[in-house]
Assembly symmetry: C2
Homo-oligomer: 259 residues x 2
DNA sequence: AAAAGCCGGCAATGGCATTCTCAAATTTTG
DNA sequence: CAAAATTTGAGAATGCCATTGCCGGCTTTT
């Protein structure tokens, strides 16, 4: 995986904690709460070194925690790559990551949280990747087009197509539907960077009078669905001869039935 | 695995396990197969009453079986209406249908088969309903339009919208995705009447030069997805203020980004 | 009315997620 | 450094369900 430290402004705001880090037991905070309304004053009165020490300690703890959580996530990704499904057991994740069951539940509220984390991670990667690609274009329509094609790839990506050591993303694509049903809010949040990008691209194209949509957000969503879940339609057509390609999805989005 | 409820016409020709008892007839049929082209002669030589008797017996058995199976299905539908999910337990189905666990597994290979049955039933109902509506129109585009709006309703249909004692179909819509992932072939088969209707409507519109699509089947599938699963997008947008309506889906399908 | 197959009730099995327990290991603190 | 506090590992225990097995009564057939 590439360096995840891409300081994208748009993303920064909506970044959701990958792991549910259990609130660190900061003993001092208990006493601080008694003088709630002047908490900042209290802080200022404390020697700076103390804050830094606490901060360092917390950072150390967080770093350790992140490393541990990451091992679970890596194990899960590798299991998915092998089994092409999200139906691995927690036990398998434990075994592969060489950590303990207890540890797992310390870092994730349950299996769904783990899958959500995988989903978030994937969306972030995809957003970076697509963003970089789109930025190579200047024409609004071409930017939209690139967005479409690449996003389609990300969601379709079968084992044979994977490049750059990326993971098999089909299992996640598949499970994302389930996720969206049980936990729409989280999924919405996770997808928002991607969604925001699309809305922007669409707005740009509209401004340039290259397209005309009544409601950019609604249209974006319809487009997003069409692109991301065309694999679903493929499952439902006979023969592998008939496969909806990225270009077909694109044409459908742009021209509808007038293609 | 052979499901016990295969009352399929195609299968009727082969030996039916329900009443015929001995394995000997199988051996006989093997020899009969050697002289394949006079198989019908052989049939004619059997006394007709015998065939009718067997047939009547089978029909009776089938009828009884169907009634029993139907009770499971009714119970499942009613549970879905109440719980708004397919996550009821088999035990609940048993209790409500006042039948036995044993009976359940005699008629369905498992829970997935039951859900598949609900799905099939729903699709058939929907197809009839939509078909009747579409046939009230003569203009190809209006036919397509009606198809779209009504199908959207069928898939979206929340409790508040239900009429005519129809069931809450959201749980099935939701689960159909899962179903399509685990069992694409069955789902494809179940959806084929609906799919065929859409392809025809689209072909008619194309013939009338009202639309122009490169690949009717692919476009139909994209359209179908857009219509049937726009509820999915709704889950992913903030606030219930923003809801993709049937008309929006229709516009998107027809005009794409040029609406 | 005996034989044969069907059926209801219900206990048993098995897979898996999630929790619980406890003692060893590690970190923090005085 | 050593006691106290916290984290962690190992894995047993629990709970939920789907699915199977078993047996004694109940029809239907012969």
């Amino acid at each position: 995986m590439g360096s995840p430290e891409n300081g994208n402004d748009v993303l920064a705001k909506s970044t959701v904690p990958l792991v549910s880090t259990k609130p660190e037991p900061v003993a001092a905070s208990v006493t601080a709460l008694e003088t709630a309304d002047n908490a900042s004053d209290t802080k200022d009165l404390e020697p700076e070194w103390r804050q830094r020490a606490v901060s360092r300690s917390l950072n150390a703890a967080r770093s350790r925690a992140e490393k541990r959580a990451q091992r679970f996530i890596d194990a899960a990704f590798s299991l998915m790559d092998e089994k092409h499904t999200t139906e691995f057991t927690i036990q398998e994740v434990i075994d592969r990551s060489k950590q303990s069951l207890r540890g797992f539940y310390q870092y994730f509220d349950g299996k769904e949280e783990l899958l959500l984390a995988l989903f978030e991670e994937t969306i972030l990667e995809a957003t970076d990747d697509i963003s970089a690609l789109v930025d190579q274009q200047t024409e609004p329509m071409e930017r939209l087009h690139q967005f479409t094609v690449r996003l389609h790839e990300w969601c379709e990506a079968s084992e044979t197509k994977r490049k750059r050591g990326a993971h098999d993303r089909r299992p996640i694509s598949e499970f994302s539907v389930q996720l969206a049903i049980n936990n729409p809010e989280r999924v919405r949040l996770a997808m928002s960077p991607l969604f925001r990008m699309l809305v922007e691209l669409l707005n740009d194209a509209t401004a340039a009078k290259l397209v005309a949509v009544a409601n950019p957000r609604h249209t974006s969503m319809l487009m997003m669905q069409t692109i991301m879940y065309s694999w679903f339609g493929n499952r439902l057509m006979d023969g592998p001869l008939s496969v909806i390609t990225a270009e077909e999805a694109w044409d459908f989005c742009v021209y509808g039935l007038r293609s």
